[in-house]
């Protein structure tokens, strides 16, 4: 099992303790609030993910051969979703990010956020994260 997969498994287990949506959402809100602040200089127009109803900024940089992500959003639930994505993808090798899938979202009861019509941009966020990975992979080659 890859490191990304084992983190995903960990998150699934964590969410399996919740009995209903209120607890799940409360947890996401907590995760959102706990997300480390993004550096102000990265909170710029070109880091905004298009297709989100709330504003989402994602910044990435290469640290050795690992990609590190920081992010923010003006909506707290969206921020919780980003926090989960960062936990999964940050500090990973670009190749592993490219090869990973995000089926775990289904298993933590957040399936509705995957629909493209949700306009919360989870799909766009993942796409952006993978695009960063592709760009850094090219640098490493």
């Amino acid at each position: 099992m890859s490191e990304i997969e084992s983190i995903q498994k960990e998150i699934i287990e964590e969410f399996s303790f919740f009995e209903d949506w209120t607890q799940r959402y409360e947890h996401m809100i907590e995760l959102g609030k706990a997300l480390p602040l993004i550096d102000k200089t990265h909170k710029i127009e070109e880091n905004i993910i298009k297709g989100c109803q709330s504003k989402v900024w994602i910044h990435a940089h290469l640290d050795g051969d690992k990609v590190k992500f920081t992010a923010d959003s003006d909506a707290i639930i969206t921020k919780g979703i980003i926090a989960i994505l960062i936990r999964v993808f940050s500090n990973q090798h670009p190749r592993s990010i490219i090869d990973s899938n995000i089926d775990f979202i289904d298993n933590i009861g957040l399936k509705e956020h995957l629909s493209p019509t949700r306009a919360n941009g989870l799909v766009s966020m993942v796409k952006q994260i993978k695009m960063y990975a592709v760009a850094f992979q090219t640098q490493l080659n």
């Binding site: 809100i29 109803q53 504003k55 909506a75 707290i76 639930i77 969206t78």
Partner: protein
Amino acid sequence: MIDIFKIREDFPILSRKVNGQNLIYFDNAATSQTPRQVIDVITDYYTRLNSNIHRGVHRLSQEATDAYEEARIKIQQHFNVAKPYEIIFTSGTTESINLVASGFSKLLKPEDELVISALEHHSNIVPWQMLCEKTSAKLKVIPMTQEGTLDIKTFKKILNKKTKLVFVNHVSNALGTLNPVDEIIEMAHNNDAYVLIDGAQACAHIKPDLKKMNVDFYVTSAHKLCGPTGVGMLYGKTELLQKLPPYQGGGEMISSVTFEKTTYADLPHKFEAGTPNIAGGIAFGAALDYMNSIGFENIIKYENDLLKYATEEIKKIDGIKIYGDLQKKTAVISFNIKNVHPYDIGSILDQMGIAVRTGHHCAQPIMDYFEIPGTVRASFSFYNTFDEIDIMVKGVQKAIKMLQ
């Protein structure tokens, strides 16, 4: 009087569950729900009548044509329009607006001016911007006030001899403001400008009398008033519709075609190229029948009561701000909670089976004016109940508690 229990039985969708809870549908300004009476008409069309209209000599085609043209007459009568051919079937409000904008691209001169309002939906902004790009005509904007109404004094100043067209929505989709269209039409006409009124948000709540309004163009969509999606109408005064060139080329819009020259058909067919949404058109008529059977006086009274109650209850929530809290508005409440993003409220309400709209409602200029990312919009219909409002208010309170 509205018999709410009887009415709710007409709408099969209202008995479904969402996220394990009874659906509470407060997104009526985006699209209204469809009563069984209208669904039955669509089913009946495909079961009994389906064929192409206006061409066939055979029985089915004649019956389908009759049903389609009867629907046009229902629409004509509903809106109190002089002639049935002044009603053009379109795919909806957006296409109706584009049809007029496209027509005027041939008639405008570079120095001409168009006026839109700050309360418009993007669909009543973008086509005119495109028209201005094409013709070099200038676009002027009637500003809005903090209360969410139009600044008519400034409109008076904007109007001049160069003003050719004025576009205003009857009701603002983002705030529910009922605009003073009679006044706007009169002022525009005094300046020899034509007026197009976008009635998409109005026709589910009021019954516009287009003759009395003396409006030049009026557009709306069937799906906002219990009809199906993908069909709507353009009303235009005969002399104006005759002046406008056709919108699209194709079958049915011609009277004769040779490779040298095509002669266009008379109204309304000149603007109805290709096979239309026949079932949709017929169902549009059925939707008007349904709403008239309930009666707009009853609808207006009931929705006003709902709005009044909802406004009072929502105002009890801490940190609430209602945008466009007006006397003259339709049953729409656009609001925000202090320090809470509308998207968060909407996501949590959805978990409780409550459908509201969040975001800019395709009216970004209004959001920019208030300097907000968007609002939560609850829009009500005559099939909503007072209990549902109580559940939503409790839902918003729960959301705030979770988020703060």
